[in-house]
């Protein structure tokens, strides 16, 4: 076992993580970065080794995002990074200088919860709640990704313009978020209900547009039916 370590003078016994002493390779390196988090700009000094997750939690006091594994495997740290979901634990803060971040604390509009947050409550989509901030941020992005026409590994026809968010699609798209309490069934139901409401809304919008423009009547009904069918 030791031969692996001895061959590289930089690796202390026990796997390269010094047990509290001075790290190998010199003193910590610091950098000053700017982050816009939930609409507020912060200018902060960080260790180059710090992840976005650690900066959010330790430096900005935003403890909604959780650390489950610190290896990209559980999704508890999921945030929206420049509008896209990402694992805060794998993203180095210094590499995202200037980024716009939304955490679970920023999903609601003041006291008004987002439709997904409402649905999580309505469907009992959590038990202990530890994975929930990551689930909510991830699910928020899943709705956006589907609306943008992104396919998934279970999309029957990946050339189709808009995938339908059925239960199988939701399970696949949410597979980067683990829940130790096993609240999956209700998480899927909450997401499905939110997606269906959004679809009904856009169908209704399309129908209103139809009656407004009598010329294009038949064409627009065709579109509304197309949306409804999903």
């Amino acid at each position: 076992m030791d031969s692996a370590n001895n061959s590289d003078g930089d690796v202390p016994p026990g796997g390269g993580r010094p047990p509290g002493g001075a790290p190998p390779g010199g003193p910590p390196v610091r950098a000053v970065i700017t982050l816009v988090v939930n609409g507020t700009e912060h200018r902060i000094g960080v260790d180059t080794r710090a992840s976005l997750l650690d900066v959010l939690r330790e430096d900005l006091g935003l403890t909604g995002s959780k650390k489950g594994c610190d290896h990209g495997q559980c999704g508890a740290c999921t945030i929206l990074l420049d509008g896209r979901r990402a694992n805060g634990c794998l993203a180095l803060a210094v590499a995202h200088d200037g980024a716009r971040i939304t955490t679970v604390e920023g999903l609601a509009d003041g006291d008004r919860l987002s439709p997904l947050q409402e649905a999580f409550i309505e469907y009992d989509a959590f038990q202990c709640g530890y994975c929930t901030p990551g689930q909510l941020c991830s699910a928020t992005a899943v709705l956006d990704e589907a609306a943008a026409g992104w396919p998934s590994a279970v999309t029957p026809d990946i050339t189709a313009a808009t995938p339908m968010l059925d239960a199988a699609e939701i399970r696949e798209r949410m597979s980067g978020n683990l829940c130790r309490c096993g609240a999956y069934v209700n998480i899927v139901a909450a997401l499905r209900d939110t997606a269906e409401r959004a679809e009904r809304q856009s169908a209704a919008d399309a129908a209103r547009a139809t009656s407004a423009a009598s010329d294009a009547r038949s064409e627009a009904i065709g579109h509304a039916q197309g949306v409804g069918r999903r």
Partner: protein
């Protein structure tokens, strides 16, 4: 984690100039940061290449693609022209990792991600890949998900990338900017290497060489990617296959087959391809071709299951391509419980 200096490169030339011997390029960091945290990678400097202006996907007049090295995995898989012209590539990317990881991961980083061999990832263990000369505990130890083809007694690791398997089937070339000067396209089969007696190198790149793009020629036939893993999603492949098949008058005119999860590099199944060309396009031919390839396998104590798994997966995928049907008939990705595969 060892402290490191962070530099953000604005151009490819900057990146090369900023790379000293102690540096690593940083893409999305989804593999590198993890390995640094594990004490497996110990760079004194990170040169961030994720912001280089290499984030475009160009579609050529001939139907080929040039994919920039900093294109995010999610953007590659969502690109409408990639989905239409090279479905096997989009499917392979979508079969890998999770939505949040694909948003961070770059094409360059995906190609150069390191093996998931458990001993390689544990800095307290011997491993010829991480600490040359220290031995390969996987050979006699935990290797149920390691190589059955092209391995050596020095290393039985597999390459974990799904995307690279599709690129192997597609005859892709990796554009590399050399530290020693010049930029040239390297065929994927010469980019990766087998372990031999030097498993410390995954690829033929020299330290500081920068991947700038991947060139993908047109396919011209239906193609697809199938992956079998230990759970239905968010897991590395036990075995995967990227295949393309051209059938005319009931006969196989042309085909491409590459395997993932079986070797130190994406495994182009040239022997299966040779056997298959000219045979009637039916199940029997597909099995015969797959078996011809898997005759080359030298399974370890605990991974012989991959031989029939790979054989059946090749045959099933070719059958689907030949008949125009989708996975399992219901369009769902195959899981381990998918009948007939194992």
């Amino acid at each position: 984690m060892r402290p490191f200096v962070y530099e953000r490169a604005g151009t490819a030339d900057d990146a090369l100039a900023l790379h000293d011997g102690d540096a690593r390029y940083l893409g999305g960091g989804t593999n590198l940061v993890d390995l640094m945290r594990l004490g497996v990678e110990l760079p004194g400097r990170l040169v961030d290449v994720a912001h280089l202006p290499l984030d475009r996907i160009e579609t050529g007049g001939d139907g080929g693609l040039v994919i920039g090295a900093t294109v995010r995995n999610s953007d590659l898989a969502a690109d409408p022209s990639v989905r239409a012209s090279h479905p096997v590539l989009a499917e392979a990317v979508l079969a890998g990792a999770s939505g949040q990881i694909r948003n961070l991961a770059t094409v360059g980083g995906n190609l150069l991600q390191r093996t998931r061999c458990p001993y390689f990832q544990n800095a307290g263990k011997p491993c010829n890949k991480r600490a040359p000369g220290s031995g390969c505990p996987a050979y006699e130890g935990e290797h149920h998900n390691l190589a059955i083809l092209g391995h050596s007694t020095a290393c039985v690791a597999t390459h974990p990338s799904d995307m690279a398997v599709a690129l192997a089937a597609l005859d892709a070339r990796v554009r590399v900017r050399r530290r020693s000067g010049g930029e040239r396209p390297v065929p994927l089969g010469d980019f990766y290497r087998l372990p031999g007696d030097d498993p410390s190198r995954d690829t033929t790149l020299e330290p500081g060489d920068l991947v700038t793009a991947v060139e993908v020629p047109p396919v011209g036939m239906p193609s697809r990617y199938r992956k079998v893993r230990e759970r239905a999603s968010f897991a590395f492949a036990l075995v995967s296959v990227a295949a393309a098949l051209d059938v005319a008058d009931g006969e196989v005119r042309d085909c491409r087959i590459a395997l993932g999860g079986v070797a130190h590099m994406p495994w182009r199944a040239r022997r299966a391809e040779e056997v298959l060309r000219g045979l009637p396009a039916n199940e029997e031919s597909y099995i015969r071709a797959a078996e011809a390839e898997l005759e080359l396998a030298e399974p370890l104590r605990d991974n012989a299951y991959k031989v029939p798994l790979a054989t059946n997966l090749i045959a099933r995928t070719l059958s689907e391509l030949g008949s125009g049907e989708r996975a399992g008939g219901d369009g769902r990705a195959p899981g381990p419980s998918d009948g007939g595969l194992s």
